[in-house]
C-alpha cells in the first residue's frame, strides 16, 4: 500500500504525461479516492493551464496609432561615454581655473597711489624700530645694569671694611 507522500512525488510526472500507462492508472485511481492529493493535483493543473492553454490577450485598438507616433517622433541619440563624463569634467576644470586666476589677479594688483606709498613707509618704519630697539633687549639691558650696580656696591662695601 503506497502512501500519499509517494503519490505526491509522482504528481509532476503524472500531469506532464511522463508516467507509464500502468503508473498513470495507479495515480489516477488514488486521486479518485484521496481528496487531499486530488485538490493539489487540480490546483497544479489549473495553474499550469493558465500558462499552457492561454486565451487570447485583448488587443489594443490604438496600437497602430501609438507605433506611428513613436516612428514619427525622432529619438534623441544617446550621449557617448566621453561626452557624458568629459563634458562635466571640463566644466569643473574651467571653473576652478577661473577662481584660481581671479585670486592670483587680486594679489598681483598694486595701486601706485600716495596712500599706498605712505602705508608701505609706515610698515617698514615699525618693522625697523622693532628690530633695532625691541622691548626684550631693553629689559635685558636694565637687568644687566642692576646686576653690575649691585656688584659695584658690594665691592665698595668690602673695601670700606
Amino acid at each position: 500500500m503506497k502512501t500519499c507522500k509517494q503519490y505526491k512525488s509522482k504528481l509532476a510526472n503524472y500531469l506532464a504525461g511522463k508516467l507509464s500507462t500502468d503508473q498513470s492508472v495507479d495515480v489516477a485511481a488514488h486521486l479518485k479516492i484521496c481528496p487531499g492529493c486530488r485538490i493539489q493535483a487540480e490546483k497544479m493543473e489549473k495553474l499550469a493551464d493558465a500558462f499552457l492553454s492561454p486565451s487570447n490577450v485583448p488587443v489594443n485598438p490604438f496600437l497602430y496609432t501609438r507605433i506611428q507616433n513613436r516612428l514619427l517622433t525622432p529619438t534623441q541619440p544617446k550621449k557617448s561615454l566621453v561626452a557624458r563624463f568629459l563634458q562635466p569634467a571640463a566644466y569643473v576644470v574651467v571653473l576652478f581655473l577661473g577662481i584660481y586666476l581671479g585670486i592670483q589677479l587680486g594679489y598681483s594688483t598694486k595701486s601706485d597711489t600716495a596712500s599706498s606709498y605712505a602705508d608701505a613707509y609706515v610698515e617698514s618704519l615699525y618693522f625697523n624700530e622693532m628690530k633695532l630697539d625691541p622691548i626684550t633687549t631693553n629689559l635685558l639691558q636694565a637687568e644687566e645694569e642692576t646686576e653690575i650696580d649691585k656688584m659695584k656696591k658690594e665691592e665698595n662695601d668690602e673695601n670700606q671694611q
Binding site: 505526491k8 509532476a12 506532464a16 511522463k18 493539489q40 497544479m44 499550469a48 496600437l63
Partner: protein
Amino acid sequence: MTDNLVTAILRGEQEAFKTLVDTYQQMVLNVCYGFVQDQDDAQDITQEVFIQVYQKLPTFRKDAKLATWIYRIAVNYSLNYIRSKKRRGFLSSIDELFETTHGNEDALQSQSEEADSSLLAAEDEQILKKALEKLPKKQRVALTLSSLQELSYKEVADVMNVSVNQVGVLVTRGKKKLYTYLQKSM
C-alpha cells in the same frame, strides 16, 4: 502575399504596414504575454516589437517566413524585458526599504480592498510567475511558443533554430519542471 506586403512597406506604403500590424498583432501579443504574464507589459513590448520590425524590415531575407522572423523578434524582446525587469526589481526593492508609508492612506485602503477581492488570483499568479522564472530559458521559450495555438512544433523549431525532436524534448522536460516547481511553491 508576404512578399508583396514587405515590398509595399519598403516602398513606404503606410497602409501596408497597418495591414502587417493588424495581421500579426494578436500573435505577437500572445507570445509576449506568455513570457511576461502581464497584459500592460505585453502591450508595451508588442509596440516595441513592431517598431523594430519596421526598422529592420530592409534586412529581412525573403527566403525566411515573415511570421517566424516576427516571432523571433518578439521572443528576444520579451527575454530582454524579463532580464531588465529583474535588475529594476532589485533596485526598486532597495527603494521600497526607504519608502515611507504615511501620506498614502487612501491608496493603501483601496489597495487592501482590491486585495481582498482578488487575493487568491494574485497569489496563484505569483506562484505561476515564480515557477516560470525558475524554468531554463530554452524550455521556457519552447513551452511558451508551443502553448500558442497558432504555432506547430515545426514553426517553434524554426523560431528557436533547433530540430523538431529537440522542441519535443524541451516541451516535455519543461512541463515536468513546471509542475514540480508549482508543487514546491504551493
